[in-house]
């Protein structure tokens, strides 16, 4: 039962060396220290939040690529590894289209109501 496209995924299985694992581990720990450090300094909360999330994403990438062997395994794993996160992105983004533009409770946006509501309609 081996067919064309299964076959192409059956390349010799490489895997990272023990050294690579340790290297990644050290990088992860450094990132951890870095993110804790950043959280103690105030850059204005948007920047703090952004930095913390970016570092988390970097760490997740490293784990997925190296510890979970995605970088070494067959290509066909990539969409599987990505799907969950992509869909979560959809979920978050579209939910936020609502919450970031709600007009009640009023003024989640500083301007108050959506601006096309401005001109009053005369009947």
């Amino acid at each position: 039962m081996s067919n064309a496209d299964i076959k192409d995924t059956r390349r010799v299985r490489r895997s990272p060396s023990v050294g690579t694992y340790f290297l990644i581990y050290v990088v992860l720990l450094l990132l951890l220290v870095f993110t804790i450090g950043l959280s103690l300094v105030d850059f204005g909360h948007h920047w703090n939040n952004l930095a913390a999330l970016l570092i988390a994403i970097t760490k997740a990438f490293l784990i997925v690529l190296f510890f979970m062997h995605v970088r070494y395994g067959p290509r066909s794993i990539w969409p599987f590894a990505a799907a969950g996160f992509v869909w979560l992105g959809i979920f978050l983004t579209l939910t936020m289209t609502d919450y970031l533009t709600r007009n009640h409770p009023p003024a989640i946006s500083p301007r108050g109501e959506p601006h096309f509501l401005v001109e009053p309609q005369s009947r």
Binding site: P105, G112, V118, Q121, R123
Partner: protein, 359 residues
Amino acid sequence: MNQFRLFPEEASNLAPQVDAIFWFEMAISAFFVLLFIVLIVTFAIRYRRRSESEVPPRIEGNLPLEVAWIVIPFAMLLVMFYWGGLVYVRAKRPIENATTLNVLGKQWMWKVQHPEGGREINEMHVPLGRPVKLVMASQDVIHDFSIPAFRIKQDVIPGAYMTQWFVPTQLGEYRLFCSQYCGNGHSQMIGRIVVMNASDYQAWLAGFVPDESPSAAGKRLFESWGCAACHGQRAPTMAGLYQSKVLLSDGSIVLADENYLHESILEPAAKIVASYPPIMPSYRNQLSEEQIFDLIEYIKTMQSVARPPGPGIPPTGPIAPMPAPSTLPVTGDSPRRIPNNPPERHPPGFDIPSNLKSP
């Protein structure tokens, strides 16, 4: 009201607009359904299997056809979207000079409150041809205020005010429903809408002997619940607050509409007026939604002292359709109004926590 019909009455400004879309989409739908029925029946007869061993030719597909039946329906769908969106936005848009009725939904009845003091249960009288604004609240679960003849429908979510505008355009009596499942009495949470001539309406209102007008009741509450003890002295005055723009401690500006007032009473800390301490207690679970309606009615009557918006406000400021005369004397302080002649006067004895200071 309770006679058999095939199509609902059109009794509001929105109804013809909604029905126009309906007929448009019906036409498209009917076209496709009929087309498919005709094709299926024709093919089923014309190409019926004549012998058990019949083998028809292979037809792989046809790109131009595929493109056609992707693009044409898509174009139709875009038209539907646009038209529907237009009517929706129109329906959500405020109409100037509307009479505001307060509507409270609770398990399982609708209470309606007229500004002049009429209170009704499961009934709503409205004048013909006059814009009406509904400010709706729910005491418990989600209800849905729905008048099919007006083609309006709005969920009423506890914890926030929902608004809806319409203009009744036809005399008569119509159904009022609760359309969102809300418990056992959901199907009994129905009522009657009566559209009357303006003069009849006035007569009806006059004939209504209110025990107490909402704003009077509000005034009483304002005093008995101790609001007056703070407001006007160590807390911002209510005068001219309604429909003004308020500068908050986080630097944002909000419109003081009903929803804001409602939230300020139940959830004072959610939005702190700039340069005031967050000392106001929450009145959640103490004041009922009806009492809050009354309080807000009262706050609205303290309208006359409004000052015109100054240069600090973007002129696109939403709604605020009633620029009040600027000549009136300003009584009391109104430091949160913008422009904010910087209200550095803090009530004595209160220190604003640093994190709440406006930037």
